[in-house]
């Protein structure tokens, strides 16, 4: 199978912080790809570079053959994204948020209405479709964002911690739908998560990144074999091992990086 995403020596500096340090990886067409790492490892920064929101300091990216830096509009057409932090318009209703997204991605009008309804049903928000998002709970907003990200059936779907803060029922629901889409439309899925059990169950292949560098990659079972562990969670901890002190300082790094990205 062909690679739909390739990154070569990808690097991003934020002034004095090296957020992503010369990473190279590739994702195959139709694959479900887990991008794992502790907080502040550089996951979101990498996703932002792949999705045209940030320009890399150095290195190369190819998204379906196009560079996000040189051909951002071509790249934007082929992916959908669910961001880690909310990106809904709080003053609009659930339906209006969906509709706006559909228009931005030029989903044909006759398909749009039906698909919005179908997706809102999957995330169990169809009865709240005409409520302003401001009044939604955190979990409801999350569900709406996922529905929105799936609306235009993209070639590549980026999910940055999509199931954070959701109950197991909804999580299963959403993953089932995503797996179904992955099969029926051969959508490539690129996701990050902190639930290792989820990654183990869903990902065909994972990459583990820490301190901006790739520390392991392969199928979940390969990773377990390499580290001699029973679960992906143990394997994850084995490759990203660090004591509590460095964990603390890394949290600080994360806050700094987040703040920087926030301010950009």
């Amino acid at each position: 199978m062909d690679n739909i995403i390739t990154a070569k020596d990808l690097t991003k500096n934020f002034k004095d912080i090296l957020a992503v340090d010369k990473i190279s990886f590739s994702v195959k067409q139709g694959e479900i790809f887990g991008f794992l790492g502790p907080n502040g490892a550089g996951k979101s920064t990498t996703i932002k570079m792949l999705t045209t929101l940030l320009n890399p300091t150095s290195g190369e990216i190819s998204m379906n053959g196009f560079s996000p830096v040189l051909n951002p509009d071509k790249v934007r057409k082929i992916f959908g994204i669910v961001f880690q932090d909310p990106s809904l318009d709080d003053d609009l209703t659930a339906y209006e948020n969906m509709e706006l997204h559909g228009v931005l991605y030029s989903v044909p009008k006759n398909i749009l209405k039906q698909r919005i309804e179908q997706l809102l049903n999957i995330v169990e928000l169809n009865d709240r479709r005409n409520d302003v998002v401001k009044h939604f709970s955190g979990g409801m907003k999350r569900r709406l964002e996922i529905a929105r990200g799936l609306l235009h059936h993209p070639k590549i779907l980026f999910l940055d911690e999509p199931t954070l803060g959701l109950d197991p029922q909804t999580r299963n629901h959403i993953w089932d739908y995503i797996k179904e889409l992955n099969k029926s439309e051969s959508i490539t899925v690129f996701f990050t998560t902190h639930y290792m059990e989820e990654a183990d169950r869903i990902a065909n292949r994972v990459v583990v990144i820490d301190h901006g560098k790739i520390v392991a990659q392969g199928t979940p079972s390969e990773l377990k074999k390499q580290t001699g562990t029973k679960s992906l969670e143990d394997a994850f901890i084995a490759v990203t091992e660090r004591d509590i002190r460095s964990e603390e300082s890394s949290n600080l790094d994360m806050m700094r990086i987040r703040r920087k990205m926030f301010r950009r």
Binding site: D85, S87, L88, L92, V103, L104
Partner: protein
């Protein structure tokens, strides 16, 4: 086209949903109109200027459009902080269209706000020349576009609301006070006179005063030309800066 339309519609929906914003932003022009209009009215008559409300009302309409436009542009900062901006920036539509849609939406809101203030001035005693009303709307629309584009350009460079106070006090307030909205521009000290002449709002106020109260001093055509040129330039600058945003 559909992109521009949906983003324009979004601004209007947001405007009509925030009743408190509509009413709140009418408070300031109303206060200026009543306090200054009736307060300085007698002195203005003594100085031989005639009816002050007649002079002031177009200035207050321009003021409400100025503030409303700038705030619409500045909304980009809110969208950035609440994340919605990212949703539009990763979409496969040109940033130019996004910027135009937003600007038209913001300008329409400002125009509505200006129209409400125009109606209010009529109640306070402003006697308008209704024959030229369509031309007055053209000037109101131009002022709206110009300053929404300016707001967009500024907001594209600001990262959070902290810089906003600076912009407010060192740019927006001077634009308002030194535009001839409150006092005639004749006989000012040289330095201040120059500032008023490079201030785009001066021509907006003059155009409105010319169409609504027959009091233009530069000539309507000149006002129109200056405003159009500056609006086009600011739209261009605004879309350039907007296209360079990284989140």
């Amino acid at each position: 086209m559909k992109t521009i339309y949906i983003l324009w519609k979004r601004q209007l929906i947001k405007y009509f949903r925030s009743k408190s914003r509509i009413i709140g932003s009418l408070g300031q022009p109303l206060l200026f109109l009543i306090a200054l209009g009736f307060g300085f009215g007698p002195i203005y008559v003594k100085a031989g200027g005639g009816n002050y409300i007649q002079f002031l009302a177009p200035g207050i309409i321009a003021m409400s459009i100025l503030f409303s436009s700038i705030f619409s542009g500045i909304e980009i900062i809110w969208d950035r902080q609440f994340g919605f901006l990212k949703e539009t920036l990763v979409a496969p539509v040109s940033r130019f269209k996004i910027m135009i849609g937003r600007t038209l939406g913001g300008a329409t809101v400002a125009l509505l706000q200006g129209t409400i203030v125009l109606v209010i001035t009529l109640f306070v005693g402003f006697r308008s020349n209704l024959m030229l009303l369509p031309f007055a709307f053209i000037f109101m629309a131009l002022i709206s576009m110009l300053f929404t584009a300016l707001g967009t350009a500024i907001a594209s460079m600001l990262e959070d609301m902290q810089g906003f106070q600076l912009i407010m006090n060192f740019l927006i307030m001077p634009i308002f006070f030194l535009s001839g909205a409150l006092f005639p521009l004749q006989g000012l000290p040289k330095a201040i006179s120059i500032i008023t002449l490079i201030n785009p709002l001066t021509y907006g106020v003059d155009g409105l005063r010319g169409t609504l109260a027959n009091l233009s001093s530069f000539g309507l055509f000149n006002d129109f030309a200056v405003l159009t040129i500056i609006a086009v330039v600011l739209l261009w600058v605004g879309s350039y800066l907007f296209s360079k945003i990284q989140v």
